[in-house]
C-alpha cells in the first residue's frame, strides 16, 4: 500500500505482457490509459470545484448559494451541464466556421496539456520531460491563439476588440510570470518539474515569498480571474471574446476557465509549495498525492476568495500594473537575490561549507534565510515606493479638483 501507483502499473503491464503484447503495445496502452484517466478525473473535478466556488462566494456575499437541486445543491452543476448540452450552438451569420468551432477546443486542450507534466507523487507523473518548466510555459501560451481565433471568427467587432484586449493582457503577464518562474529553476538547478519538487527541502515560498506572490498574481491574470477578469466582465462588455458562443461551445470556455484556475493552483503548489512533499512522502509515495491535492485546493480557495472579495480592475490599470510595477519588481528581485546569494556563498564559505545544498531541510536553512531577507527587503522597498506613488497621485488629484482659495478671489 506504500506505493499504490507502481503496484497498479506493474500489475497492468504484467497482465498485458501475459496476454502476449509487445513492449510497444504495452507503452501505448499505458499512455492512453493515463491520458484518459487524467482527462476524466479533471472533468469530474470541475463539477466539484465549481460547486465549491459557488457555495463559498455565496457565503461570502451573505447568501446561501445553490441549494435547490439536490441536498446542498450538489447536483446544480450536473443540471447546468445537461442544460448546456441541449442548448443550441448559435452560429452567427458570416462567422468563420472552422476557427469558430476549433477555438473552444484548443482552449480546453491547452489546459489539459499542462497536467501531463505535473507530478502528483514521487512516482506518479505523466511525463517527466527534462524541459518540464519550459513545457508548462509553452503550453500555457497556446491559449492566446485560441482567443484570437474566437474573437475573429465571431464576426463581431466587439468580440474582436475583447479578444485584442485579452491577448494584450495575457501576453503582458507572461513576462513577470516567466521571471518569477526562473526562481525555482535557479534554486533547484534543473528544469525538470519533479527535480524542482525534490529540491524543496525548504519550500521555495519560505525562501522567496515575493517571487511566489509575483508568480501567483501573474498566473491569476493569465487565467482571467478576478480581479483581472476584464476579459469576460459579465456585467460590462457582455462576454468579450466569447460573446457569440452559446451551448456546448460556451461550456468549453467556462470549463477551461475554472480548470485553468485549478491548474495554476496546482502549478504554484508544485513549484513553490513543495508539490507532493510532506511528512513521510518520500517513503510512502501514496501520501504524496494527498499532500499535493491539499495544497492545490487551499491555493484554489485563495483564488476563489480573491474572486469573491476583490473588485475588478480596468484594463489600463491592469496593463500599467504589469509593466510599471510587476515586471520591474520581478527583475529587481531576480538580480538582487542572485547577487546577494552569490556574495553570501563567498562570505559564508568557512561558516557554512555546503551553501548550495538542496534537498534536506537543515542544509538549506542558511541559503533560505539569506534569500528570505532579500525578499523582505525588496518587498518593503516596493511597498514604500507604492505608498509614495499613491500619495503623489492623491495630491495631484486633490490639486486638480480643489476649489480656488478664498484669499485669491478676495485680493482681485
Amino acid at each position: 500500500m506504500a506505493d499504490v501507483f507502481t503496484t497498479i502499473y506493474d500489475w497492468l503491464t504484467g497482465l498485458l505482457a501475459g496476454w502476449g503484447a509487445s513492449q510497444l503495445v504495452i507503452d501505448l496502452v499505458m499512455g492512453l490509459l493515463g491520458s484518459i484517466i487524467t482527462v476524466v478525473y479533471l472533468l469530474t473535478l470541475a463539477l466539484v470545484i465549481i460547486w465549491v466556488e459557488r457555495k463559498f462566494i455565496g457565503r461570502v456575499q451573505d447568501r446561501i448559494g445553490p441549494n435547490r437541486v439536490g441536498p446542498w445543491g450538489i447536483f446544480q452543476n450536473i443540471a447546468d451541464v445537461v442544460k448546456l448540452l441541449f442548448k443550441e450552438i448559435i452560429i452567427p451569420k458570416g462567422a468563420d466556421l472552422i476557427p469558430f468551432m476549433l477555438a473552444p477546443a484548443i482552449t480546453v486542450a491547452s489546459v489539459f496539456l499542462i497536467w501531463a507534466a505535473i507530478p502528483y507523487a514521487r512516482t506518479l507523473i505523466g511525463t517527466d520531460v527534462n524541459i518540464g518548466v519550459l513545457y508548462l510555459v509553452a503550453v500555457s501560451s497556446l491559449g492566446v491563439m485560441a482567443i484570437l481565433m474566437a474573437g475573429w471568427s465571431s464576426n463581431n467587432k466587439y468580440a474582436l476588440l475583447g479578444a485584442f484586449r485579452a491577448v494584450a493582457m495575457l501576453v503582458s503577464y507572461e513576462v513577470p510570470m516567466i521571471l518569477a518562474l526562473l526562481v525555482p529553476v535557479i534554486l533547484s538547478g534543473t528544469l525538470r518539474v519533479n527535480g524542482i519538487v525534490e529540491g524543496q527541502g525548504v519550500w521555495y515560498v519560505f525562501s522567496m515569498p515575493l517571487a511566489a506572490l509575483i508568480f501567483y498574481i501573474a498566473q491569476v491574470a493569465e487565467v482571467g480571474r478576478s480581479p483581472f477578469d476584464v476579459l469576460e466582465a459579465e456585467s460590462e462588455i457582455v462576454a468579450g471574446f466569447h460573446t457569440e458562443y452559446s451551448g456546448m461551445a460556451f461550456a468549453m470556455f467556462y470549463l477551461a476557465e475554472f480548470l485553468h484556475a485549478f491548474t495554476i493552483s496546482a502549478m504554484t503548489a508544485t513549484l513553490f509549495f513543495g508539490g507532493w512533499r510532506g511528512p513521510f512522502a518520500q517513503q510512502y509515495p501514496t501520501l504524496g498525492i494527498v499532500y499535493f491535492f491539499i495544497k492545490t485546493f487551499l491555493l484554489y480557495m485563495l483564488n476563489v476568495w480573491g474572486r469573491a472579495t476583490l473588485p475588478r480592475l480596468r484594463i489600463d490599470q491592469i496593463m500599467s500594473f504589469c509593466w510599471k510595477f510587476l515586471t520591474p519588481l520581478a527583475l529587481v528581485l531576480l538580480v538582487l537575490s542572485t547577487l546577494v546569494d552569490k556574495v553570501a556563498s563567498i562570505l559564508l564559505e568557512d561558516v557554512v561549507p555546503n551553501y548550495y545544498a538542496a534537498g534536506s531541510l537543515v542544509e538549506m536553512l542558511p541559503r533560505s534565510a539569506v534569500l528570505l531577507s532579500v525578499n523582505l527587503l525588496v518587498g518593503l522597498l516596493a511597498v514604500v515606493w507604492i505608498a509614495r506613488q499613491g500619495r503623489k497621485e492623491r495630491q495631484r488629484l486633490a490639486a486638480l479638483t480643489s476649489p480656488a482659495p478664498i484669499e485669491r478671489q478676495a485680493a482681485r
Binding site: D96, V129, I131, L134, V137, S141, M145, W152, V171
Partner: protein, 166 residues
C-alpha cells in the same frame, strides 16, 4: 523500410509542416493563412522532438506559436487594406517559378550527393539542457553571441516603444 511509431510520428509531423505551408500560400483568406502557419510551425516543433531536441521544440512553440503568430494575426486583423486585396496570383509568376526550380535543383543535387545511403546517427547526450546552459555561460562557449543577442533584443524593444509613442 520498417514502419515504426517514430516513422508514423514523423509522417504526421511532416504532413502538418508541409500541409500547413501549402495552406499558407494557397489560401485566399489571410486569417486562414495565418492559422495554417500556426499548424506548420507546430509540425516543425514536432520534428524537433523527433530529433531529440525537446528544448528547441518548447522554444519553437513558445516563441513562434505563442508570440510571433499572435503578432502576425493581430497585424492582419487590424490592417483593413490587406483584407481588400482580391488577386491571388502574382503577375511575376514565371520568374518566381524559374527561381524556385533552380533552388530545387541545387538543393536536391547537394542533398543527394552528400547524404546518400545510411548516415551514422550521432549520439545525443542525455543532459543536453545542462550542456547548453554551461555553453551559454562559458568564455569558450557562446557567451558573447548571447550577450550581443540580448543587446539586440533590448534595442528592438526600445525602438518599438519609441515608435509606438508617436
Amino acid at each position: 523500410m520498417t514502419i515504426t511509431p517514430v516513422t508514423i510520428a514523423f509522417a504526421i509531423m511532416a504532413i502538418f509542416a508541409l500541409g500547413g505551408g501549402l495552406g499558407v500560400v494557397a489560401n485566399r483568406n489571410l486569417v486562414h493563412a495565418a492559422l495554417f502557419l500556426v499548424l506548420s510551425l507546430f509540425g516543425i516543433a514536432g520534428l524537433f522532438v523527433l530529433l531529440e531536441a525537446p528544448f528547441l521544440a518548447a522554444v519553437q512553440v513558445l516563441v513562434y506559436v505563442g508570440a510571433i503568430s499572435v503578432l502576425i494575426t493581430i497585424t492582419i486583423m487590424v490592417t483593413r487594406r490587406i483584407m481588400g486585396i482580391t488577386e491571388t496570383i502574382n503577375r511575376q509568376w514565371p520568374v518566381a517559378a524559374i527561381a524556385a526550380a533552380l533552388t530545387l535543383v541545387t538543393l536536391g543535387f547537394v542533398i543527394l550527393s552528400q547524404f546518400s545511403g545510411q548516415m551514422p546517427v550521432a549520439d545525443v547526450p542525455p543532459d543536453t539542457i545542462a550542456r547548453m546552459g554551461a555553453a551559454f555561460a562559458s568564455h569558450q562557449g557562446y557567451m558573447l553571441p548571447f550577450e550581443v543577442a540580448s543587446v539586440l533584443l533590448l534595442a528592438a524593444l526600445i525602438g518599438a516603444i519609441v515608435v509606438a509613442r508617436d
